[in-house]
């Protein structure tokens, strides 16, 4: 026993190094698994408020671009409104299952294999895990961590992100993943080789999950190739969204999410 203590005291630097290094490695491994790291993420109160302070300065630089985006969206919504059929039901508000909540992006990254965003909405604004995040142009990601005032989003530019999407023309659906190569190109997998593909085809969300409603634009087909077993396509999708400059986003709340979850749980 005495010898053991002596050994530790003699090599205390090495022991400390080994301890801290293994803590760091285990944190790294944890972060590669889905939904693990609890405390140490950027939705932490102190971290997010520092990002917020920095954002309150830097958001002024993007005002012109943000205005442009808002104008585009407004004109699109207006034209939809004008071309809408007249007799819409009066109580349509009761039928709505999705509600949108705007949020500010405090931090965004797109250069690493696993990217996350930090938003300024949290539990206090009744945001929950697995809510979808979009912009006026397309999808951004899914909320994966929340604190009282802030939340962290698993970006579609993350190798562990999997989102169900479909081809607009043929309704064939597959999984949206990312190969960590370029910030504007994602991959659509699990599409059968019998499907007829054309360059420029639109890809939209499928609406199969409770996260995203159907028909949210994602991107267009840029190129496609067969996978190693030659039975499924790997399709490169050019995103509509510019993931490198996000400022204002919308969080999609599904008001039926509890009902859907209990349905799915009873199945398992």
């Amino acid at each position: 026993m005495q010898q053991l203590f002596n050994f530790f005291i003699k090599n205390k630097t090495f022991v400390l190094f080994l301890l801290l290094f293994s803590i760091a490695i285990s944190l790294t491994i944890q972060s590669h698994e889905f939904h693990r790291s609890k405390l140490l993420n950027s939705s932490n109160y102190v971290i997010a408020s520092i990002y917020g302070a920095s954002n309150s300065v830097s958001q002024y630089f993007n005002l012109e671009k943000e205005n442009q985006l808002l104008l585009e969206e407004n004109s699109r919504l207006k034209s939809e409104r004008f071309n809408q059929k007249k007799n819409s039901p009066v109580d349509s508000i009761l039928e709505q299952t999705y509600s949108l909540n705007s949020a500010l992006v405090y931090k965004n990254s797109y250069t690493k294999p696993n990217n996350y965003l930090t938003l300024n909405k949290g539990l206090r604004d009744s945001v929950k895990e697995d809510y979808g995040v979009i912009t006026s142009k397309g999808i951004v990601g899914v909320i994966d961590k929340i604190s009282t005032k802030y939340s962290r989003v698993l970006s579609i530019l993350n190798t562990s992100s999997k989102i169900n999407v479909k081809l607009k023309k043929t309704n064939h659906f597959g999984t949206l993943t990312w190969d960590a190569k370029a910030a504007d190109i994602v991959q659509l997998k699990d599409i059968q080789d019998l499907v007829k593909l054309e360059l420029g085809d639109s890809v939209i969300t499928s609406g199969f999950s409770s996260t995203f409603p159907a028909n949210i634009p994602v991107g267009t087909v840029l190129s496609f190739r067969l996978n190693d077993t030659k039975d499924l396509y790997i399709i490169d999708i050019k995103l509509f969204n510019d993931m490198t400059s996000l400022n204002h986003v919308y969080i999609i709340k599904n008001t039926d999410i509890n009902e859907l979850e209990t349905l799915n749980e009873s199945d398992e």
Binding site: L20, F21, A24, L27, Q30, S31, L40, K107, T111
Partner: protein, 168 residues
């Protein structure tokens, strides 16, 4: 003595904020960012307690990891170079290091260059290896290490010459 402790505390938080708010958002050529927080580890006083030094390096890396949502990659790389630093101090500064504590502002540029180069390259390699975490992507890891190291080295050397107290 207190002055040195104070200076290092300022350096810790200053470099931390500089790193997460500015340097990690540069994205030069798409993905190259300088890791300027390494200056804290590189310039930490040599005569000081090694346990404190290793622990504060770990803490700095860990806080940066939390900011950037990168798991424990910065912490692992930082604690590694903090541990092996004496080896490279001896290698780069030779006899000076054996006899007394080094004042980095009084050292030769070439010696400082070699010292920075080795530690920065090791740090970046370990970090990118853990970030990518895939042996098949070795080329990508080496490429990112090379470009980012060059950028970090440049910025670190610029900072040390900018803030050195040596009279011209």
């Amino acid at each position: 003595m207190n002055n040195i402790v104070f200076l290092n505390i300022i350096r810790f938080f200053g470099l931390l904020l500089l790193q997460v708010l500015i340097c990690s958002n540069i994205n030069f050529m798409g993905y190259i960012n300088p890791h300027v927080y390494l200056l804290f580890i590189l310039l930490y006083p040599t005569s000081n307690n090694r346990l404190n030094f290793i622990f504060s390096s770990f803490l700095l890396g860990l806080i940066i990891d939390v900011f950037l949502d990168s798991g424990g990659t910065h912490a692992a790389a930082s604690v590694l170079i903090a541990y092996i630093r004496p080896l490279f101090l001896k290698f780069s500064f030779g006899a000076v290091y054996d006899y007394q504590a080094i004042k980095f502002s009084n050292t030769d540029f070439s010696q400082r260059f070699v010292y920075f180069l080795f530690l920065i390259v090791i740090h970046h390699f370990v970090m990118f290896f853990l970030v990518v975490f895939n042996q098949n992507e070795m080329l990508l890891i080496v490429k990112q290490t090379l470009y980012s190291s060059a950028f970090s080295l440049l910025i670190c050397l610029l900072f040390t010459s900018l803030f050195s107290k040596k009279q011209l």
